[in-house]
Symmetry: C2
Amino acid sequence: MGGGSSGGSPGRGSRANIRDVARVAEVSVATASRVFSDSSLVRPATREKVLRAAESLGYLPNAHARALVGGGGHTVAFLTAEMVGPSFADLASGVEQVTAEYGHLFMLCTTHDDVEREQRYVRLMGEQRAAAVLLVGATEAGPDYQRRVLGYVKELGAVGTQLILCGRPPVSPGADVPSIEYDNLGGGYSATRHLLELGHRRILAVGFSPLQTTTGPRLTGARQAYGDAGLPVDDLLLAESCFSIEEGDRAVTQALAEDTGFTAVVAAADHVAIGCLRAIRRAGLRVPEDISLTGFDDIPVVSDLTPALTTVRVPFGELGRVSARVALDEVERRRYRHVVLPTELVVRASTAPPPPA
Amino acid sequence: MGGGSSGGSPGRGSRANIRDVARVAEVSVATASRVFSDSSLVRPATREKVLRAAESLGYLPNAHARALVGGGGHTVAFLTAEMVGPSFADLASGVEQVTAEYGHLFMLCTTHDDVEREQRYVRLMGEQRAAAVLLVGATEAGPDYQRRVLGYVKELGAVGTQLILCGRPPVSPGADVPSIEYDNLGGGYSATRHLLELGHRRILAVGFSPLQTTTGPRLTGARQAYGDAGLPVDDLLLAESCFSIEEGDRAVTQALAEDTGFTAVVAAADHVAIGCLRAIRRAGLRVPEDISLTGFDDIPVVSDLTPALTTVRVPFGELGRVSARVALDEVERRRYRHVVLPTELVVRASTAPPPPA
DNA sequence: TTGAAAGCGCTACCAA
DNA sequence: TTGGTAGCGCTTTCAA
């Protein structure tokens, strides 16, 4: 080291290619190719020779050249706003698992909720001739969104890349994009009904955005629970807020200050619920003795909070697996254009009857 | 639908290529190419024509063809055991962020701690001619591991792919693989010293594996703290256990049953600490009044536990960003073969002086 | 069972 | 400013 001029990694000049391998192995390029495509029409001895040559040259087939002639990429792109939270992890793992089973590559892209980044990535994945692009997770579902997705369908369709909506509802008529989602409305419904059945009447809803594809329907479900119980929906108090621990905290703190007399909080998501819990505590109140609290998602830690959180479980892993299968398997895709996986209420210790008035 | 025979996505037969675009735009292939490589030597009017043609054909450049001639992939592969936990999220986000800044693609692969999968992915990434492969996170650092990494260096080196160790120590002499890690030993040291300073003497260490690249040094640090304080290292009680909430729970439950008289627990990671907390509670003891507890990593939720957890903060985001920069920038790489980022003790409510004997 | 050669879609070089 | 064209590394006919 230090002295020589030709230092660096092995094969510094040009990388070995299949022609080099063929030459060293004293066979034709075609034969060498057959060996690496594990075709069976090669005599074992010949195969050995080729393999040895490859080994000695540090040869690795070039996936780009293969994709070029073979006609396709073998990548599944997973497009999400952020890669945070256990829900993300389960979902992504599910996709990754099935993707690997199909012998494809899993590619993760984060948009940070930036439309431009999203568009760039979709285009990029088209250029890569990805097998599929999964648009994952909650989003604001306005007309702009519809139009954007339609654009993606067209752009990707032209290069043979399949678009899939994962954890989102289908885009309305026209575009026929497969959509794998879960029952947000039902989850919101059962959480709220649970509280109503316990005797709560004035419930504070925190963290819901009516236009968002996940929390919107959850809110609708909550409303429906009031309706079905024959109770005035006006008793469902709405605290506007976003999707973080801090904002959940802030929202509840404010609601408490306004003294609107709620005895329970339905949070739009577990993270929000954690923030709510903080705020309730800080106000010197107890959960569930003074105020009941529910979350949504059932991320692992919420069972370790004090008290353990009552929440709605979402089958993230399965969502991922099903999405990937639909993305990669044409038969499944034809069969399942729209799948809605069930959600399930998990009652733990954060909900109880309201304190006696 | 149903009747026609030529249905399906647009351009059903063959996808448009640059030649088609050139033909429609009535220019040469070379000119069309220049437009998409945004080279400046094209008259605006011509550029327009080409762009319009591309648009009308739904043309998207083929990244594989480009990589083939351009000589390289633009992918950064992130190889980790699992994509769980906020630490993973921060780390991966950091890598992704910088990767995007360099105009590269971020690719995530999970090995599930399976050597075979790891090897397959490394090879696959070599075939993709990835710009870099990051081996991320804790691992058992035996001689097998050393040998394996050496193999990767050779395999990837031959195709021009850079290998980087991220959150792991360098492999010992010989292979010169860049390594970006953080101060595990120092973290273990300061957590333990903190407990010692509070007056604890018999401390239970949970979740450490001496051979593992992260918890191993953390344990060494803990021992060192005893040594530096002039205290018998034998008072650091070792509870063998793995890396999950459940195993932390089990370990502490057992230790409690054995009545070894410890007044504090150092957990090898926050997740383990959560399990310890569970066990301590179940035994009817309080944290920190009866038993103090520290974690490691500082994942977001631990500040919401009751009590908030004293732990060691790891700069995961920066770890990711630095790793990516070293991976992608030859100058940085030459300068920083080995980086150790600092860790920091965060004292919260789970630690206090031991109860009076 | 093996080999020769024609592309896959693109860029980059050299000429015009 | 534009066009012709030789590859990039590979697979895959078609022949031998």
